[in-house]
């Protein structure tokens, strides 16, 4: 999973396989980080955020 684990080899299999995993985890992680930071900013009244309505959330 990580290059510092003893069985890691820098070959194409590891790069493609682990590249796919870390690519997906990065998108999920960055997406949630954005949502959390923006929610904190909106709640604190920073920027143009504030109260939203749920009319078209589904």
């Amino acid at each position: 999973m990580f290059p510092f684990i003893f069985e890691w080899v820098w070959d194409m299999s590891h790069i493609v396989f682990m590249g796919g995993l870390w690519y997906a985890l990065t998108i999920i992680g960055l997406g949630m980080t954005y949502c959390l930071i923006k929610a904190i900013a909106d709640t604190a009244g920073i920027g143009s955020g504030g109260h939203h309505h749920h009319d078209d959330h589904h």
Partner: protein
């Protein structure tokens, strides 16, 4: 008692009735938990698995719930990527059903590995040449995506929504849901496929073995295709059951019919591909290994030739024909029959590709070996069903799962 938690403008049963429902299903859940603890404490000797059946009821249940949970990724793909806006009225329920299916799959795997304390080895010491490692990665990541998709629904509970931070977080998650849905579709494509790839690469098991493209056997594509076709059928089926139990219409017919139509065409194209795959395997692949079609079927109770007819014709061709015709979709009985058959069909396909692969004799001294699960295996397989029923009950009661419910069931 709990009226402050129930969404505004909808009617729910009395707390007493709801508690009785939770108590009855909870008893079944506890039976499953007891069996699960037996498996964890005493080990896999509690099962009827053996050297023939390293994969058994649990792996079938895993593959089946993952295929049936495919409604979440495919409906999300249609709603957020293709832009089928009407599906916003059923996407919440598809996400909830997907969340239940995938959490159930992970729970079953946690029991099946026998030594759950070492479950993290599959990530830490990953075998990058294994289809199952890819499945473990995508399954876990996609469960994370489903949790992210389910979380805003929880935050929209009437009381939680009053907290400004939760309200803003839910809003922000909705705003970028297309990113999560696209990631979910990417992950689902690969893990649904890799589950099919597992049997397709077993060159020592000629019943499952298939040729294919590059590293992917044809079963890789057939599994993804069938999950995208039958997952939405399961979403429709559970919606219909929920409407029956609650005695309320929850989703408009045009939404159901749109999803049914797309499922129907997916199922029709899938079943054509499945028939071609079966024909090529029976006439070219298997004979090249020294087998012919009827070597893989026997007169035993489980694996006669009838199982092929049932899977492909009755639970494949028939529901596809019903769903692609407008009159079939508009008839309530025909629609229900079609989605039930499609759900049975995909579950049967997974059964065959897990259990029959193991049962077929491959050595001259082998014979057909039958397997029947122990009560502990059955109880731990029923456990996720009870858990799913409870989660659906709680979500329906306290969360705004169905956006059209108020309009369809006005309170005087």
């Amino acid at each position: 008692m709990d009226s402050a938690l129930i969404p505004e403008g909808v009617k729910r049963c009395s707390p007493a009735k709801f508690l009785i429902f939770l108590g009855v299903v909870g008893a079944v859940l506890l039976w499953g938990v007891f069996a699960m603890l037996l498996c964890w404490i005493k080990g896999l000797n509690q099962t009827n698995m053996n050297d023939y059946y390293g994969f058994a009821l649990w792996i079938w249940a895993d593959l089946a719930v993952i295929a049936l949970g495919g409604g979440a990724f495919f409906t999300g793909f249609l709603r957020y990527i293709i832009g089928k806006d009407e599906l916003k009225n059923i996407i919440n329920y598809a996400v909830l059903i997907g969340f239940i299916c995938y959490s159930s799959a992970l729970l079953i795997l946690a029991i099946d590995i026998g030594q759950p304390l070492r479950g993290w080895f599959i990530f830490w010491h990953a075998n990058v040449h294994s289809m199952l490692t890819e499945v473990a990665f995508c399954l876990s990541c996609y469960f994370g995506v489903l949790t992210i998709e389910y979380l805003p629904l929880i935050l929209e509970n009437r009381q939680l929504d009053r907290v400004p931070f939760f309200h803003n977080l839910s809003h922000n998650m909705h705003e970028i849901m297309a990113v999560f849905a696209a990631t979910g579709a990417f992950l689902s494509f690969f893990h649904q496929g890799s589950l099919g790839g597992v049997s397709g690469v077993l060159f020592g098991r000629p019943f499952g073995y298939r040729e294919g493209v590059f590293i992917w056997p044809w079963t890789f594509f057939l599994f993804t295709w069938s999950a995208a076709a039958c997952g939405p059928c399961f979403t429709i089926l559970i919606t219909k059951i929920t409407e029956k139990v609650t005695q309320k219409k929850l989703v408009k017919d045009n939404v159901i019919e749109l999803l049914a139509k797309i499922s129907g065409w997916m199922l029709a194209t899938y079943i054509i591909a499945k028939i071609l795959d079966t024909w090529y395997w029976a006439s070219v692949t298997a004979p090249s290994k020294g087998f012919w079609l009827l070597d893989f079927y026997s007169n035993n109770p489980f694996y006669g030739p009838w199982i092929l007819v049932l899977e492909v014709i009755i639970c494949g061709v028939l529901p596809a024909l019903i769903l692609i015709t407008e009159s079939g979709r508009k008839s309530k009985t025909a629609l229900l029959l079609a989605v039930i058959l499609a759900v049975i069909g995909v579950s049967l396909n997974r059964w065959v590709m897990v259990l029959q692969v193991m049962a077929v004799p491959v050595m001259p001294f082998d014979s057909w070996y039958m397997y029947f699960p122990s009560w502990q295996e059955i109880a731990t397989t029923v456990l996720p069903v009870a858990y799913g029923v409870i989660l659906i009950g709680l979500s329906h009661r306290y969360l705004p799962i169905f956006p059209q419910e108020k309009e369809l069931n006005p309170i005087d």
